[in-house]
Each structure stands twice: as structure tokens, then as C-alpha cells.
């Protein structure tokens, strides 16, 4: 019985394999990306209206591109999970067969550009008609190293203040104008959190504070809002053992200790908690506006009313952690005909910056950002100022992945394993110094 099933399975598999052999004439290019794996869910879908979320939109865009270039170019998506994406990408470089096109965070670009692993794109942009003057200056600057452009900017994303307005209303935190109350200082935050907890017994804030780097983003935001900085401008030393950092970490821990912030969640759990109405505010990124808006429109959902705003300025300076996605062409990835094909794919992404912004990410093309089509999307007017408040560590800082992980681990230790805050910041300082010096 089992033997027969196995035989049937192997037959089916061989047949399956046979049908995946690509058409002879088409140029194959590999698209290496995160954003999730959903090509089964969206198989054959080319209608953008049906796409929800990052995975949905990028998959449908890819499907559309393939359909429009049928017989000419075939884009093969390799979706890698977010956590190990860069390890995997690095492994492809080691193996000397990197993909034709890959997505990257702007914060990681520097490492690859410095090692000459990316194809400069200035000429290819001109060839396919990508107008770099349409990019928001910060976006273009972020992908330029030594005067050369190394990536196509795709979006800007930051952390936002996602609110369950239904729950806030129950705690009396919605104004007469129907707008939810958003704190404008640390004191207001504490007061509102207390009011919420007293009224509902639930934490005011939800955060993916375990495994996920969300707490690091929050921490950095709080440091910058105090006018502090984390990496010295000479890029040789960290500035983590600073008064601003101590204050930021103390605030985070105070919120957790008082029960105003629930942080022992991984990313999926924190999101689920928000959607289940376990807290009023979820600190999460731009990439979920689309998703949450849809959830809130579902009457059966515990998310009884959704609003989002720029991350509130709790100290003296408006600032918020931000990064951006961009597309690169690794050196040695696309060869011959593939180069043109890859460039065409980049142009396609450039043309669809508005479609991508349906996720919630902010577009990087000025024409799109200032256009009505974007601004009329739900909630976008509430987050426009994010583009101006966006902050990050200096673009050329090396090993930002390692730095973020080092910082994340120490910050999480203070509330997950009871580490002393002073010790944690000193340990983070030491490790990041080691990373910046090239020792680690």
C-alpha cells in the first residue's frame, strides 16, 4: 500500500518536474526576495486589486510582469524567509552564483557596495528610462556610494503608531472629533497608558519585543528624539552608553514593568494580539497598513476601528527609525541577455511605486508621493510627515545587521532575562565598538 503510494508520488513528481521546464526562448532571471511566500495563493493572479499585503502585491506584480513579457522574460522568484535572508544571500555570493535581482534594505547596502559586489546602475537606468531626478533626495542619497548608484530605491518604511480606535474609545481616549488621543510627551504617554489600563485591564502598548528587532527600532527612535546619536560620525565608535540611551531604555522598561506595554511577543504573536484586541496600540511598521485596514472592515474582527499615525514625538525632536527597500543587481548575477531583462524588471518596479505603496510603505518617487492617487489612499495623510522625520544610523556604517542584533540582544536581555540596564548598555557599546573596528 505504502509502496504504491510512493510510486504514485514519484510519478507525479516527475510529471510535475517536466511541466516546470521553461519555454526555450525566454530569458530566465532569478528574483531573490523576502516578503513571504505566497505564489500558490496568488498563482496566475494579475489583478492588483486582489493583492493584499507585501507578499500579495509583489507576487502579483511579478505575475503581471511575466504575463506581459511572456515568451521573452521569465522571472523566477526565490522567496527566502526574512530572518535568514542575508545569510542566504551571502551564501549565494560565496557560491559565485548570486541572483540576477535581489531586494535589500538600504541599511545593508553599504557592506555590499564596499565589497564591490553590486552592479552600478547609472547606465542601465538611462537605458530603460528610469528618471533618477524623480526620487526623493534622501532616497537617492541612500543608494549612492562613491558617486555611483547601486540600487533602485523602492520604498521608505518606518515604525508607526497603529491604533485600535474601538478599544481606545472604550477607555475614553477618543476625542469629540472622533480622533484618537495620541500622546505628545512622555508624561502624556504614561497618563494615557494608565487610563487605558485602569479602564480595560489591558496593556496600552503591544510590541514584538522577543526575537524581532522591533524594540531596537523603538529604542533608536527614542534616542534620536532626545537629540542623541548612536554611531559617531567618524563611524569608528558607538555612542550607546549615553544619557539619552539610558533614558530611552529606562522608559521602555518602565512601560513594561507597569504593565503598560506587553513585549514578550515575537512578531506574529504581537500582531495577533493586536488583531485580537489585546491592546490599544501596536508599534509596527508601514508594511501592514493595508492588512489592518482590511481587518478592521471585517465586522467579526476584534479590531473594532483602525487608525494609524506617525510615531509620536515624545521628547524634543521629531524623529523615527526608518529604513527602505531597494533592488540591486549583484555582480555576476545577470549575464548577457539577463542584464537587459533584469533592468526591465527594475523599470517595472519603478513604474509601480504607487502600487507598492498600497502596502503602507511610503513611495520614494516625488511624483507619486505628492500625487493625489497616493494621498487619497486610506490613512496616508496621517503618516505623511514620516518622510521628513525618518532617521537611521549613518548610511556607510558597516555591518548594520550585526550591530542591530547586538543592540537587540542587550535591550531584550533587560526585560526577558532580567539583565541590569547599565550592564546591558555597556555590553552593547563594547560589542558595537568591536564591530566598527572590524574585530567582530
Amino acid at each position: 500500500m505504502t509502496m504504491r503510494r510512493l510510486l504514485a508520488a514519484s510519478l507525479a513528481a516527475t510529471l510535475g518536474l517536466a511541466t516546470t521546464v521553461p519555454a526555450l526562448a525566454a530569458t530566465d532571471i532569478t528574483l531573490f526576495r523576502f516578503f513571504g511566500s505566497c505564489n500558490d495563493q496568488y498563482a496566475g493572479v494579475t489583478d492588483l486589486d486582489k493583492a493584499v499585503g507585501e507578499c500579495g502585491i509583489i507576487q502579483v506584480l511579478t505575475n503581471k510582469f511575466n504575463a506581459e513579457h511572456k515568451g521573452d522574460i521569465a522571472v523566477k522568484t526565490q522567496a527566502v524567509d526574512w530572518g535568514t535572508y542575508y545569510n542566504r544571500l551571502n551564501a549565494t555570493f560565496v557560491n559565485r552564483n548570486p541572483p540576477a535581482v535581489a531586494v535589500m534594505h538600504r541599511s545593508h547596502l553599504g557592506d555590499y557596495a564596499a565589497r564591490h559586489l553590486l552592479t552600478p546602475l547609472d547606465d542601465l537606468f538611462k537605458q530603460v528610462g528610469i528618471d533618477k531626478s524623480d526620487f526623493v533626495p534622501a532616497a537617492l542619497k541612500g543608494v549612492t556610494f562613491d558617486g555611483k548608484i547601486y540600487a533602485l530605491p523602492f520604498d521608505l518604511h518606518a515604525i508607526l503608531w497603529h491604533m485600535n480606535t474601538g478599544l481606545l474609545g472604550k477607555a475614553g481616549l477618543v476625542g469629540d472629533d472622533g480622533q484618537p488621543t495620541i500622546p505628545k510627551s512622555v508624561d502624556e504617554l504614561m497618563a494615557q497608558a494608565k487610563k487605558f489600563k485602569d479602564a480595560t485591564g489591558k496593556p496600552y502598548l503591544l510590541l514584538a519585543g522577543s526575537v524581532d528587532p522591533m524594540v531596537t527600532r523603538l529604542f533608536e527612535t527614542l534616542v534620536w528624539q532626545q537629540g542623541g546619536h548612536l554611531i559617531d560620525s567618524d563611524l569608528k565608535h558607538a555612542n550607546i552608553d549615553s544619557p539619552e540611551a539610558h533614558k530611552a531604555l529606562a522608559l521602555i522598561n518602565e512601560l513594561i514593568d507597569k504593565g503598560y506595554m506587553a513585549a514578550k511577543y515575537n512578531y506574529t504573536e504581537s500582531q495577533q494580539a493586536f488583531l485580537d484586541g489585546e491592546g490599544a496600540v501596536l508599534i509596527n511598521g508601514t508594511w501592514v497598513i493595508n492588512d489592518y485596514d482590511q481587518q478592521a472592515s471585517n465586522k467579526a474582527s476584534a479590531l473594532s476601528g483602525y487608525a494609524v499615525s506617525t510615531f509620536p514625538t515624545l521628547y524634543s525632536e521629531p524623529a523615527v527609525w526608518a529604513d527602505g527597500h531597494c533592488w540591486v543587481m549583484p555582480r555576476g548575477g545577470a549575464r548577457g541577455d539577463q542584464r537587459q531583462a533584469a533592468a526591465k524588471l527594475l523599470k517595472y518596479f519603478y513604474d509601480n511605486d504607487l502600487a507598492w505603496s498600497h502596502t503602507g510603505h511610503l513611495p520614494v518617487r516625488a511624483s507619486v508621493l505628492n500625487g493625489d492617487a497616493f494621498r487619497s489612499l486610506p490613512h496616508r495623510d496621517a503618516i505623511l510627515s514620516t518622510t521628513n522625520e525618518a532617521r537611521g544610523v549613518p548610511g556607510a556604517t558597516r555591518s548594520q545587521a550585526g550591530i542591530q542584533d547586538a543592540l537587540n540582544e542587550q535591550l531584550q536581555a533587560t526585560y526577558l532575562t532580567g539583565k541590569d540596564q547599565d550592564a546591558a548598555l555597556k555590553a552593547a557599546q563594547k560589542r558595537v565598538d568591536g564591530i566598527l573596528s572590524g574585530r567582530h
Binding site: D40, V80, Q272
Partner: protein, 282 residues
């Protein structure tokens, strides 16, 4: 009532208690796998509401059908089979030849060779995965089946096992052939190898399992999706899923990944016991 009868009754009660405990323990031991199997046979929508229950009710084969329709999963599966079969076959050849030499051929330097090879048992595979990766990279041979198979052939466990076995074979069996002036090769193929069937089966099973379950090396070496093995491919699926939808599918991939090895195990399990007894030495 004699002491013997009371004693026997006490022993009977003890035996019943032990049996009950064992049955409960065995059941609990299997529960994780039974539960996962049950989930793999339930529809995704049902699982989004609740994952409770050890019985696959409501029943569906959709998840498994979806696997067979997902070209990449079946591709990974075939990769794993290819790697496991190749690794097993070549290991058997290399280990039986080498094991026989160390056990039975009195050649010069045999003792040094033995120590040299046994020392290799101390080298953990994780200590060499980085230089191995750079080696294969410089030969442009990562993402090939050769890269996945060859490094593990070098693990001396197989040679060690076969050597132990051949040492235990009575010398008289060989002596007759030696007196007849038969060559070593002839002795090996005509006498030793047929005798070695149980040991070869055991080593074959161990190697197959080892190949099938290898994680770190395929993770590092096979970076192209269509070269993943089922082990690394399954891990990549785990990370990608939001874990709220497609749970049934995810469980089905776990079952799918384990099915061949479970079948191999069920068929050959007594050889595993024999092999372990042999390698622990007498």
C-alpha cells in the same frame, strides 16, 4: 500461602504496573507525531480555528495533494533521495574496502593509518563547514549534488564500523582461500562481502538517515531553491509562513519529509539493533 506464591503475586502486580506505565509512556512519546499527522490530514480553515484533537476529523487529503502539486517540494524530496542514495552507496563501497584493509590486511603502516583515521572521528562536521564551503565555491561546485554528497563520505564512522565487523569474522574462512593463493580482491568479493550483508545494511541505514537529516551543510552549500533538500526546504517554508494559514500544509510537509525514513526504519529496524551491538564492541 507459601512465600513463593506471595512473591509471585507481588511480581505479577509489579509487572502489570510496569506494563501500564510503559504503555502510557509509549503513548505520550508518540503523541507529538500523531498530533502532527492528524493536523496534516485536516483542512487549513479548521486548523485556523482550533488545532485540538488527535484524530483527523474532518479528514482531507488536500494538504498532501497540494504538496504533490507544489513542484518545489517534490523537487526537494527528490534531491534528498538523490543525495541519500548516492551517499549511502558510495559510503558502503569506501567503508567496506577500507574497513577490510584495516581489519585483515597486515600492511606496513596499518597501525598508523588506523590511528590517523580513528582520530578523524573527533573532528566535528561543524568545525569544517566554513573551509569546505570556500573550497567548493572556488571550484564553482556549490549547488551541485556532488557538493552535498562528498564531504560526508569522509566521516570515518563507516570505516570503523566495517572494520569492527571484519575483525569478528573467523580467520579460518579466509585462510583456506589464502592457501589457495587467491588475491585479496577475490577474497574480499567472494568471501567477505557476502558475509558482511548485515553490517552493510546497518551502515547503509545509518548513512541514509544521516544524509536525509543533514541540515547545516545543505543550508550553507545549496543556496538555490531548487537545490534545497527536503530538510532545509522545510525549514525555509517554516520561516515564510505567517503560521496562521497553511498550517495543515506545513504539517503535511513535515510528514512528507519523514515518511521515507520511517518506512526504511520499519522495514530494517532489526538491523539497526544489530549494528549498534556490533559497534559497541565485544
Amino acid at each position: 500461602m507459601s512465600d513463593a506464591t506471595t512473591g509471585r503475586r507481588r511480581a505479577d502486580t509489579g509487572r502489570i504496573v510496569t506494563l501500564t506505565v510503559l504503555v502510557i509512556a509509549a503513548f505520550l512519546w508518540l503523541v507529538p507525531m500523531i498530533w502532527v499527522l492528524a493536523m496534516s490530514l485536516k483542512p487549513n480553515e479548521v486548523l485556523m480555528r482550533t488545532t485540538a484533537g488527535l484524530l483527523p476529523v474532518p479528514f482531507t487529503l488536500d494538504n498532501f495533494i497540494q504538496i504533490l502539486n507544489t513542484a518545489k517540494v517534490t523537487r526537494w524530496f527528490l534531491n534528498s533521495i538523490g543525495v541519500a542514495v548516492l551517499m549511502t552507496g558510495i559510503t558502503l563501497v569506501l567503508s567496506s574496502l577500507g574497513g577490510y584493509a584495516l581489519a585483515r590486511i597486515p600492511f606496513r603502516g596499518a597501525r598508523i593509518m588506523l590511528i590517523f583515521i580513528i582520530a578523524g572521528l573527533t573532528v566535528p562536521e561543524q568545525a569544517v563547514f566554513i573551509p569546505l564551503d570556500t573550497m567548493f565555491a572556488s571550484w564553482h561546485m556549490n549547488n551541485t549534488i556532488i557538493a552535498l554528497v562528498t564531504p560526508r563520505l569522509a566521516v570515518p564512522f563507516g570505516v570503523f564500523l566495517m572494520m569492527q565487523f571484519f575483525k569478528a569474522v573467523p580467520k579460518e574462512l579466509e585462510e583456506a582461500a589464502i592457501l589457495d593463493n587467491a588475491s585479496r580482491l577475490k577474497i574480499f568479493f567472494k568471501i567477505m562481502l557476502p558475509l558482511a550483508r548485515p553490517a552493510l545494511t546497518t551502515l547503509g541505514i545509518f548513512t541514509f538517515l544521516y544524509a536525509w537529516n543533514d541540515y547545516l551543510w545543505p543550508l550553507v552549500s545549496a543556496t538555490q531553491e531548487n537545490h534545497y533538500t527536503i530538510t532545509t526546504g522545510l525549514a525555509s517554508l517554516q520561516g515564510n509562513f505567517a503560521q496562521s494559514e497553511g498550517l495543515g500544509f506545513l504539517m503535511a510537509t513535515a510528514v512528507f519529509a519523514s515518511a521515507p525514513v520511517l518506512i526504511v526504519y520499519l522495514i530494517f529496524q532489526r538491523y539497526i539493533v544489530q549494528g549498534i551491538a556490533m559497534s559497541s564492541g565485544k
